[in-house]
C-alpha cells in the first residue's frame, strides 16, 4: 500500500508537476495557478487516496484533470474540425508542393535533410531537452495538447481522443502536423 506524505509534496513534486503544466499549457502563470489548485485539491481529498497507485501518479492525475478543465474553459479543444479545415491549405503549402504534380510531394524548402551519424547520441542528451522545449513551445495551441498527451501521458490514441472529445481522424491529423513541425524546428535549431 502506498502512502501519502503531504508535507513533502511541494518539495518532492512541485517542480515536476510545474514542468508538466508548463509544457501542456505553454504559459507559466497558468501553470502556477494549476499547481496551486492541484495541491489544494490533493490536500482536500487526501483521505480518498486508496493507495493502489503511487503518490506521484495520483498527483499527476489530479493535475491532468485540472489541465483538461483548463483546455475546456479556454475552448482549446473546441471546434477542432473547423480549425483543421481552415488551416489545412496554409499548413500543407508550407510543407508540400501541390502545384507541380496533382499530388502533394515535399516542397523543396521542407524536404528533410540528413541528420548525420551523431544524431542519436545528441538527441538523448540533456542539452537537447532545451531544443525540444523550444520547439514544443512553438506548436500551435490546438496541436500542443494532443502532442504532449501522446508522449507524456502514456495513453493510447483512443483514450486521448475520449478525454479530449476529438475524433480519431482529427487526432492523427494533429499528430502528423505536430511531427512535421517538430521535425522542421529541430532541424533548424540544431543541425
Amino acid at each position: 500500500m502506498n502512502q501519502l506524505n503531504p508535507e513533502k509534496w511541494l518539495a518532492n513534486y512541485g517542480d515536476y508537476l510545474f514542468s508538466i503544466a508548463v509544457l501542456k499549457t505553454n504559459n507559466r502563470e497558468v501553470a502556477e495557478d494549476l499547481i496551486q489548485e492541484t495541491f489544494l485539491s490533493a490536500y482536500q481529498y487526501k483521505d480518498s487516496f486508496r493507495g493502489d497507485s503511487s503518490e506521484k501518479t495520483w498527483l499527476v492525475s489530479i493535475l491532468n484533470n485540472k489541465i483538461i478543465d483548463y483546455y475546456r474553459k479556454k475552448d482549446i479543444l473546441k471546434n477542432t474540425t473547423e480549425y483543421l479545415t481552415d488551416t489545412d491549405q496554409r499548413f500543407n503549402e508550407s510543407f508540400f508542393d501541390t502545384t507541380l504534380f496533382s499530388d502533394a510531394h515535399w516542397s523543396k524548402k521542407a524536404q528533410p535533410e540528413n541528420w548525420g551519424s551523431t544524431a542519436d547520441e545528441t538527441m538523448i542528451k540533456k542539452d537537447f531537452h532545451q531544443i525540444l522545449e523550444k520547439c514544443i513551445s512553438k506548436l500551435p495551441s490546438k496541436v500542443t495538447p494532443v502532442f504532449i498527451a501522446k508522449y507524456m501521458d502514456d495513453k493510447d490514441s483512443e483514450t486521448i481522443c475520449k478525454e479530449f472529445g476529438i475524433t480519431s481522424s482529427n487526432y492523427w491529423v494533429i499528430v502528423h502536423r505536430a511531427k512535421l513541425l517538430m521535425r522542421t524546428c529541430l532541424e533548424k535549431n540544431w543541425m
Binding site: 508535507e7 511541494l10 517542480d15 531537452h129 508522449y151
Partner: protein, 89 residues
Amino acid sequence: MKLLKNISFSCKDATLLSEMAKEVNLSPVKRFKLFMHLSYCKHCQKFVEQSKRIDVAMKKYNEDLFETPSYRLSSEFKEELQKKLDNGL
C-alpha cells in the same frame, strides 16, 4: 498518371500513415501503398527515420523530467503555497 496515382500516394499521405502505422493496424492496401512509397521516396524515408528518433527523444525527455524538471517554481511561490497548505492541514 492516373494509374500511378492509384498505386501510390502523396508524401503527405505517406507521412501521415507512417505515423498511424506505429499504433494502428492499417488495411493491407494502405500498408502495401505505404511500403511502395517508402521504397522509392528518399524524403519520406528520412522523415520516417527522423520521426522515430523524435519519438525516442521525447520518451527520454519524459523519463528524465522527474529527476531534472525543466521548469522550476520560484521559491516565493513555493513558500506561499506551503503556508496555505500548512493552514489547510
